[in-house]
């Protein structure tokens, strides 16, 4: 399994043809207490860089973009009842959705963990 990162602070973990997407620990820290998360419907087709999900704190609303193109196979329903999972475990239990990759080569443009860490340190 390999984990990639975007400049918009999404992470994507790829396992075969299925990938799991969420927002990074840095992103949740910037947003503060998450009060609401909306995940995409199963079966929706996402385009790399397009709106995929919504995450809200008390005073801010952000879109979560699709790191790669694909079709959604599962949304994390647990976030509906407990959006705080995004704060407590952003890169684990606080995942947003899973999708099947439609263009695996799109992963090539993403950062690996070290590159993302350097990117965040530079902010």
């Amino acid at each position: 399994m390999t984990r990639y990162y975007t400049e918009d602070h999404e992470w994507i973990e790829v396992d075969g043809n299925i990938a799991t997407v969420g927002i990074t620990d840095y992103a949740q820290g910037q947003l503060g207490d998450i009060v609401f998360a909306e995940v995409p419907a199963v079966g929706s087709t996402l385009k790399k860089g397009g709106d995929a999900a919504v995450v809200e704190s008390v005073k801010a609303a952000s879109d979560v973009y699709a790191p790669v193109s694909g079709v959604v196979t599962e949304g994390n329903d647990a976030l509906g009842d407990d959006p705080a999972l995004v704060n407590s475990d952003p890169e684990g239990e606080g995942w947003f959705f899973k999708l099947t990759l439609s263009e695996a080569s799109e992963l090539d443009s993403l950062m690996d963990e070290a590159a993302y860490k350097a990117f965040v340190d530079g902010l």
Binding site: F36, E56, S57, V58, K59, A60, A61
Partner: protein, 457 residues
């Protein structure tokens, strides 16, 4: 200049602190050609309190006030008695001169009131949740259609012919710019609504059906079947209530399956005021709350664990979501919502039900009396406190002739639907608790005389 506390010496001292020679130095960023040298032409200079009051008294006397004459107008604005304590309480400076409660620690008065208002409105309309108010019923109606569009991702709304024509106009204005389609027709002067047309028009493209209850002619109909048909096709039922006092007597739209219920709250606590300010009511099922427009107040606790209230779910709103907001609304109708809430608290459930029964009883008596006038027919089978008469001639000149006899006798359908000959003989008469038996007799006599005189023939 009684509203300006600075003295000339204050001004000089302050300019000194700022380091400016004159006030003009503070306006240097205004291009010279746009600066005015002296007071604007075309306006008088300042006036004393007495002079202003006299001017307004003179203007006010040129209007026929509802309370000074037998009065029977409705159609979206109603004359009810508002208890004296309502106006006293809303004039307390802490309510009147407060702002939107952005700092909740020092705005619990407004916030708790809004929480109570939201609960009262939700219960009255039969919904799970309500917001902290909209501008008025007509703008709330478009917001409901717009919200139904966001939920269903469809752009066709089917409007009942019984929806207030001004509400229809407001929606048509907006739909023209947003590209929504409105399926709408004019009503018929009949006891029957256009339910059959509505049921037939609902399809898989429909975002919502909009039905006024009671409708513009005062007719009341069960919404259950319309809700069921709408839901079958994945559409929503939007109900519009322009006379909330009716809901003390008849079932709430929410009970009959309405998904969004909007209304004009003016009847309760807010005077006629020639059309505004009024207070829009907006309620819906809980599952749609994140698509709601407007302010919402919610319960929480403070750092010491005490119950308190805050504005919440603000991420729907323009100041955070900007171009992705659910609406552009910012200011609502806070003080009118307060008036509504105080009046509703004074009434309570018992008072509201008694008031509704009284309105209905007086209206039934009046309808029976007026229908005895030769040539006058009662159009409605069902009604609450407002019904439509079919006169033997065009109603609009009759209303003017009645006004000449110092009777404000109702709203002619010719005023609401100009040029529609099938409706021109219609007169909508509202009868609330302020109408006395003598008022009805005065109207009946004046109407009978007017009809026999050949006015408007």
């Amino acid at each position: 200049m009684r509203y300006l506390p600075l003295t000339q010496s204050d001004r000089q001292a302050m300019l000194g602190v700022i380091g400016a020679k004159s006030i003009d130095d503070l306006f240097v960023d205004v291009p010279a050609e746009a600066r005015l040298d002296g007071p604007i032409q075309g306006l008088p200079n300042h006036a004393s309190e007495m002079a202003v009051e006299r001017h307004f008294s003179d203007l006010a006397r040129k209007n026929m006030a509802a309370s000074h004459h037998p009065f029977f107008l409705g159609c979206g604005a109603y004359k009810h008695h508002v208890p004296a304590s309502v106006d006293h309480l809303i004039q307390r400076g802490e309510f009147l001169t407060a702002y939107t409660p952005y700092q909740p620690e020092i705005a619990q008065g407004t916030l708790q009131m809004l929480f109570e208002f939201q609960t009262q409105v939700a219960r009255l309309l039969g919904c799970d949740v309500a917001n902290a108010s909209m501008y008025d019923g007509s703008t709330a109606c478009w917001e409901a259609i717009s919200m139904a569009g966001r939920i269903t991702k469809r752009k066709k709304a089917v409007l009942s012919s019984g929806l207030h024509p001004h509400y229809v106009s407001v929606c048509e204005t907006m739909a023209k710019f947003t590209g929504d389609t409105l399926d709408t027709v004019q009503p018929e002067l009949s006891a029957n609504t256009d339910r059959t047309r509505l049921l037939a028009a609902i399809d898989d493209e429909t975002s919502c059906v909009v039905v006024q209850y009671p409708d513009i002619l005062g007719r009341i109909e069960d919404l259950t079947a319309i809700a069921a048909k709408a839901h079958e096709h994945g559409a929503l039922l939007v109900a519009v209530v322009t006379e909330p006092v009716a809901l003390g007597a008849i079932k709430a739209p929410g009970e009959m399956g309405a998904d969004i219920v909007v209304g004009e709250g003016q009847s309760i606590g807010v005077g006629l005021q020639f059309g505004g300010p009024y207070v829009g009511l907006f309620a819906c099922k809980e599952k749609f709350v994140r698509q709601m427009p407007g302010r919402l107040c919610g319960e929480t606790v403070d750092a010491e664990g005490k119950r308190g209230f805050v504005l919440t779910l603000s991420t729907r709103e323009q100041h955070i979501r900007r171009e992705k907001a659910t609406s552009n609304i910012c200011t609502n109708s806070g003080l009118c919502a307060l008036a509504f809430s105080i009046h509703m608290t004074l009434l309570g459930e018992k008072g509201l039900r008694d008031l509704a029964v009284l309105n209905h009883g007086l209206a039934v008596q009046a309808a029976e009396r007026l229908a005895q006038i030769p040539g006058v027919e009662l159009v409605n089978d069902s009604f609450f406190n407002e019904f439509t008469l079919k006169l033997p001639k065009e109603a609009r000149p009759v209303v003017r002739a009645l006004a000449d006899r110092k009777v404000l006798g109702g709203v002619s359908l010719g005023r609401l639907y100009p040029g529609v000959s099938a409706l021109e003989n219609g007169l909508v008469v509202a009868v609330t608790e302020v109408v006395t038996a003598e008022d009805v007799e005065t109207l009946a006599t004046a109407l009978e005389e007017t009809l026999s005189e050949g006015v408007g023939a």
